[in-house]
């Protein structure tokens, strides 16, 4: 009955049929694939899942393949220079984006802006950052600002109040120091060049957004007295030992230690970005019963203001074979829903798009408050310019490095600012200034 020959025949028939059916069924689901690279870390892993599930369910014609790369910035650089790289490119700063755009490595996006209405969706000043000579090359992501995180329990116990003006901050720091507590726990041992956020914060909040705008467009020089006063103020605070006791610890403590001393109450405040999540050093697991909160960095007159910056940007690789599909992905990624999902799942900072308050429903109220307050202030024109986003590359690098010398006493604040002015004028002459929208 089941003769050898017959069995062989049946097997052969079935195989042929399968071979015919399977490819057909596959091609019926064949979508165009676009690749994205993300940094391979906690955040990246979380975002990968959110994106892959979200977009692939959303689009009928395209699917996304997220590849996690360790140290993505360096890897990407070489790949791009070598003519390779993913379809959708993560750019680590607006200046990088501008360089890439200038070098012709990114697909011009003006057409897509019209197609998808991105100029309506994005907050205007942010979109400008991605332009080179009028053509848009990158879309901004990850809104960032600087605030002062503080140990709320410590403040309450000691009756300290959140300062309203910079003068109040100075008095507060003195009070804190007199009580034997370290005013600011900042430690830059792991990244000395991250120290630029301190002078960046101070010049912004001392001079105000309008004056910063004038300096960044070349109307007033960086050596203007208002900036000098700001740097001197900061330097005085550092020399007083209010920043982690002085340059010794300010320059050597790790981020971990800075966070831990804030949590334990050894220090009272910590000047850092909105990306910081203090949860792991507060509470039972960390061995204390303290809680945290934040307040905006005060200005001279007490009006609430926030430095703004973007931490990332996205562009389309000019060697991509599917730029339209890549644009489709980007449009989805910057939709309010996708953004809210990413934010709620992974705590990835929101892009500078117009977004409703529902997006923050699931978030920690403190984080939600940052975005709310920041959005409102920005809408009222009370915003400043983050040095890592708005300074031309060479000036930004020097800003980070030279301030170390100021703190150590080997460079005067005057020389510091005149060096900045030098580099700014050089960048201006070379046409390398990041574009700023009018206020």
């Amino acid at each position: 009955m089941f003769s050898r020959n017959r069995v062989t025949f049946m097997v052969g028939l079935v195989s042929v049929l399968l071979l015919l059916i399977i490819p057909a069924s596959i091609s019926a689901q064949d979508k165009v694939q676009v690749t994205v690279w993300l940094n391979d870390d906690d955040l990246g892993q979380c975002v990968k899942d959110t994106i892959t599930d979200g977009f692939n369910a959303f689009s009928e014609t395209t699917e996304v393949n997220v590849e996690l790369q360790p140290n993505v910035d360096d890897t990407l650089r070489t790949a791009l220079a070598g003519g390779a790289g993913p379809d959708i490119i993560p750019v680590d700063s607006p200046s990088s984006g501008q360089e890439l755009g200038r070098a012709g490595l990114l697909v011009p996006l003006n057409g897509y802006v019209t197609q998808y209405g991105w100029d309506e969706r994005f907050v205007p000043w942010a979109l400008e950052l991605g332009r080179v000579e009028g053509e848009l090359y990158t879309l901004p992501d990850s809104l960032e600002t600087l605030v002062i995180w503080y140990n709320k329990t410590l403040f309450d116990d000691n009756g300290w109040e959140v300062p309203a003006t910079l003068a109040d901050l100075v008095t507060l720091s003195q009070t804190i120091a007199d009580a034997g507590v370290v005013p600011f726990s900042n430690g830059f041992g792991e990244c000395l060049n991250c120290m630029g956020s301190l002078p960046g914060a101070f010049i912004n909040h001392y001079a105000g957004g309008e004056v910063m705008y004038q300096a960044l467009t070349g109307e007033i020089p960086w050596t203007d007295p208002v900036f000098l006063e700001a740097i001197i103020l900061l330097n005085d605070m550092v020399q007083n030992g209010w920043f982690n006791g002085g340059t010794d610890r300010l320059f050597t403590d790790s981020f971990n230690t800075a966070h831990v001393t804030l949590g334990s109450g050894e220090a009272a405040m910590y000047l850092d970005g909105s990306w910081f999540n203090p949860d792991y050093v507060f509470g039972e697991d960390a061995g204390n019963t303290n809680d945290y909160d934040w307040f905006p960095i005060p200005t001279q007159d007490g009006e609430e203001m926030y430095v703004t910056g973007v931490g990332a940007a996205w562009g389309i690789n000019v060697t991509s074979e599917h730029p339209d599909e890549a644009a489709e992905y980007l449009d989805w990624a910057f939709s309010a829903d996708a953004q809210a999902e990413r934010f709620n799942n992974c705590n990835f900072a929101l892009a500078p798009i117009r977004i409703s308050e529902d997006a923050f429903a699931q978030a920690d109220p403190r984080t939600a408050r940052i975005y709310a307050a920041y959005g409102e202030a920005a809408a009222n024109g009370n915003y400043g310019y983050a040095n890592w986003a708005f300074f031309p590359a060479e000036m930004g690098t020097a800003f980070d490095e030279d301030i170390q010398e100021v703190f150590l006493g080997s460079m005067t604040p005057e020389d510091f600012l005149s060096h900045m002015q030098e580099l700014f004028t050089a960048a201006q002459a070379d046409g390398l200034l990041p574009p700023l929208p009018a206020r």
Binding site: A103, D253, A393
Partner: protein
Amino acid sequence: MTRDVLSSKEGVDTHEVVPFVKDDLPPKVAIPWSRYRFMQKVVIPWAFILPILLLHALVVLLPAIQGVYYSFTEWSGFGAAEFIGLENFRRIFFEDTDYGRALGNNLLWMVFFMTVPFAMALFAASLLSRVKTGGLIYRMLLFLPYVIPSVVVASIWRYLLSPRFGIGAQLSNIGIQGLDVAFLGRTDTALLSIAFADNWHFWGFLMVLFLTAMQAIPTDLYDAAKVDGANRWQEFWNVTLPGIRPTVFFMLMMVMIWSFLVFEYVWLLTQGGPGGSSEVLGVVIFKNAFRRFDAGYAAAQGLTISFFASIIVLLYVYLRKRGWDI
């Protein structure tokens, strides 16, 4: 007494004359002596050398020649490069103060690494070559730091050198004051502290190299020295050191070359700070290429590194030609 060398598996007992015995040897064909010598002296050795040489040329030489082109251009690292002739080099040698400071740091680094790890390695290797019990354990433990990845080594030493937590702080807890200095946070101590950490990682590697070389020194020479009444130091100076001289000199030269290429530990620990005081050429080049988008200039600086290191190579080659057995 003869022994069939081909089939023996242990080491050769070297006191005996060992003729080569093989079955089925094909009859020797008479070939011209000069051709034989040509084969022996030129063809065969070159056949041995070529494979890796060609691979190396493909990976290093050809790309480097292209890289050299960029050093004569203004280039952001992406896209087109604009030819500007010797402008980059003029800037390096006449304008760039960072470059000069970094070069000075490299030289300081070189002096440190030509002395400290060498002294430690020679000392430990000579001790180890005498110790019978526990030699294996010692060797393994002393080599262990070299096995640890640089990221981890840097993080440990950042804590060990911290004024708050580090060795200095612990010492002042037990009464020894003055050592809880911010080693990595002060301009005058940063570079040497980094060198110290890198040395911790590196010297075991040298020690193993020297130890291996020491094994090859015939024990007869030591016996002879003992008979002549030499003490330990004299033995070391007159037997050990000359015996491993080629290895020592070679490593001295490699260390000198590597001193110009230092990057990793400086970048991991201070990124060249504070205030640029620990910047070395490798860090300067990295910043120019990848932070300031000045890749053409960085390429030019890279070329100068190669130039300086090549001078050292030339010195080495010259000395060899002069008959120094290195």
